[in-house]
């Protein structure tokens, strides 16, 4: 069945609200407005204002309230409109949600789900285009996921809600209008593993969230040039599924990371380090990466495109690696 990413996310949320009375949603403009990405349109009428709670512009307080509600036996799904605004809630996510199990010696845990849109590509300029998934993926105590395909948009939420600890879900804003084939695999989506989306023997492209389709496009372009690329959708950014990555690299012997975050201190750097730690002698070439250039995201379209990872940059990186660049 064909569906959009938006519809898939919406169906996952709808399931959760129908199936579990302890699930409720909080966030800015999720109710009357219908969600800034129209994901929750109609939910207020269907589920009522107790379970679909429009909040004031108080990210720190409503994320903190989500933590408290989770401690109090509810299963809150908190929507922070975008990762850019999540910086206002960083204290509660990092200092409270992630630490409560540990600080309390295991007495308390925080089954909280926080969803947020992320990423650039819509000419929204510097303050509305961040990709800061790596900031969250740095923190022990959090699970961080980035659904890229419609199966995951549909199914990862259930696994996130089943987690006894906080889960941060990043939805790349460009993906909402993407259409894909929904398969039964959505029913077994987990928050543990990476997934091979395309098999190939020459190089492994490792991407997540908004860069997955760019990696798939690059793989398709490379195929036309006779290069057979494998594509891994990392899916889960913390904890990282090293096994799937290393298995692929032992087969292809080459790897290119594709990361919409800035290069310095990027999640790509972490994955590259793990590859060097675990599969160095299996490599035929230095690991490469295509990241966002070290510049705030510009408004002008041609400049924004130049700043971000693009299929052509991925193809070029692979060609260089193969000595064809």
């Amino acid at each position: 069945m064909k569906t959009t990413y938006r519809e898939a996310v919406r169906a996952g949320l709808h399931d959760a609200l129908v199936n579990d009375p302890s699930v409720f949603m909080m966030g800015e403009d999720i109710g009357k407005y219908g969600g800034s990405y129209a994901v929750t349109k109609g939910f207020l009428d269907e589920f009522g204002p107790e379970r679909i709670r429009d909040t004031p512009l108080s990210e720190l307080a409503f994320v903190g309230a989500g933590i408290g509600a989770a401690l109090g036996g509810m299963r809150p799904i908190v929507e922070v409109m975008t990762v850019n605004f999540s910086l206002l809630a960083l204290d509660q996510i990092v200092n409270t949600a992630a630490l409560y199990r540990h600080m309390s010696g295991g007495q308390f845990h925080v089954p909280l789900v926080v969803r947020m849109a992320t990423g650039a590509g819509r000419q929204l300029a510097a303050q509305h285009s961040h990709s800061l998934e790596n900031w969250y993926a740095h923190v022990p105590g959090l699970t961080v996921v980035a659904p890229a395909i419609v199966d995951d948009a549909r199914g990862m939420l259930a696994a996130a809600l089943a987690s006894p600890d906080p889960v941060i879900i990043f939805e790349h804003a460009l993906l909402y209008n993407f259409e894909g084939e929904l398969t039964d695999a959505w029913k077994s989506a987990d928050v543990r593993t990476a997934k091979v989306l395309r098999n190939g023997g020459d190089v492994t492209l490792i991407a997540w969230g908004g860069t997955v389709w760019k990696a798939l496009q690059a793989a398709s372009d490379l195929a036309a040039a006779g290069v057979d690329a494998e594509v891994i959708d990392l899916r889960v950014l913390r904890p990282l599924d090293d096994a799937t990555v290393m298995t692929s690299i032992r087969h292809t012997r080459r790897a290119v990371l594709v990361d919409e975050g800035w290069r310095s201190g990027s999640l790509a750097a972490e994955v590259m380090a793990r590859i060097l730690e675990q599969a160095f002698y299996d490599l035929d070439a230095p690991v490469a990466r295509v990241c966002t250039e070290e510049v705030p995201i510009p408004y002008a379209k041609h400049m924004e495109e130049a700043a971000l990872p693009q299929p052509a940059k991925i193809v070029a990186a692979v060609q260089r690696m193969l000595g064809k660049g």
Binding site: G72, T96, S104, A162, P239
Partner: protein, 340 residues
């Protein structure tokens, strides 16, 4: 302007009859004496390097925890700060488990993972132990939201210092609680100094009730050195909250005798100011009042004090006999072992 000049010390408490039973006030006196003896011992143990890290003593402020806690029911929730030994003891967390926690021992209430600033106890719904100023406020709002959504008649009491009032999250949290009429009691312990910064040196509006009142919630300003006044104000607040009237804000005006932490040289206030507040000590005040009402003798007080010292020594012995969690367990209690 000298910070100490802006601080007015309220007049001493007048001896008189006490409302309620003698046994009730004897219990409050026992609580306060236990807190005092416990923390005096903590300071000693810090000097002996048995307790390390940050240690924030509550000495002088005991009437707030001792008076406010009995206003709550066992199923209510408590959220506190990093200066929470008093609240934990008053809530009924065992002195032994607290002391062992400060030693960093496995027998501590948090297996030694938390320390002085992070005391937690699920059995008494004691949710920390929050060491980011203001961090406990939205958490308490959320606990109250969970109670409301599940139609439970519980109240969440959030303790925080006046320093938290400067944080944006104070305003966000009070607004959210008021907007949604959540069952949360905001208990502000105004000890006049945020570390070393006096209230008047950091806030344009020093009337904390005026600030809280802008969220259209009931407020009360109470002498936090008077355990009787604290108890009465806390009961009124908790009753209002439990009746479904939404949040309530109480400012307890109190004073910390010791420095902010063991690292604080205490250079920002006059010794005279500290001495003036010591004359209004909460233990002294209740003792005098009970003696004046012929409800306490010197011998009885001495017995209470001796009992408290005994409990503290038992706690120290328990902590000394405690064990270290094996390093092999280092990465425990980060996430659940099984992941969906």
């Amino acid at each position: 302007m000298n910070a100490s000049q802006v601080v007015e010390v309220p007049p001493p408490l007048v001896a008189g009859t006490l409302p309620g039973s003698r046994d009730f006030w004897l219990a409050r006196l026992r609580d306060m004496v236990l807190m005092r003896r416990f923390e005096e011992r903590c300071a000693d143990l810090y000097g002996q390097l048995k307790i390390r890290g940050f240690l924030h003593l509550y000495i002088g402020e005991e009437a707030v925890a001792a008076g406010a806690m009995p206003a709550l029911a066992p199923d209510d929730a408590v959220v506190a700060t990093y200066r929470e030994h008093g609240q934990a003891l008053a809530r009924g967390v065992s002195a032994k488990a607290i002391m062992a926690e400060m030693y960093g021992k496995r027998e501590g209430c948090c297996r030694g993972r938390g320390g002085s600033m992070h005391l937690f106890d699920a059995a008494t719904r004691f949710y920390g132990g929050n060491a980011i100023v203001g961090g406990g406020l939205p958490l308490g709002v959320g606990l109250a939201l969970a109670d409301k959504l599940q139609s439970r008649p519980h109240v969440t009491a959030v303790f925080f210092g006046e320093g938290a009032v400067a944080e944006g999250v104070f305003h966000e949290s009070l607004n959210l609680a008021a907007l949604w009429r959540l069952p949360v009691a905001f208990f502000c312990e105004n000890n006049l100094y945020a570390m070393g910064t006096a209230l008047a040196r950091s806030e344009s509006q020093t009337d904390l009730c005026a600030k809280a009142g802008t969220f259209r919630i009931p407020t009360a300003k109470v002498d936090g050195m008077d355990v009787v006044a604290v108890y009465q104000a806390a009961c009124a607040a908790v009753a209002s909250v439990r009746a479904g009237n939404g949040p309530y804000f109480v400012e307890f005006q109190t004073y910390r005798y010791r420095a902010h932490s063991m690292f604080d040289p205490d250079l920002y206030r006059d010794k005279g100011e500290v001495d003036a507040w010591k004359k209004r000590g909460p233990i002294h005040a209740l003792t005098n009042r009970m003696k004046g009402a012929a409800q306490l003798t010197e011998e009885e007080f001495a017995a209470i004090d001796a009992s408290a010292i005994g409990q503290v020594e038992d706690a120290v012995a328990f902590a000394e006999a405690g064990t270290w969690e094996p390093v092999e367990d280092l990465t425990r209690e980060v996430c659940a072992e099984a992941r969906p």
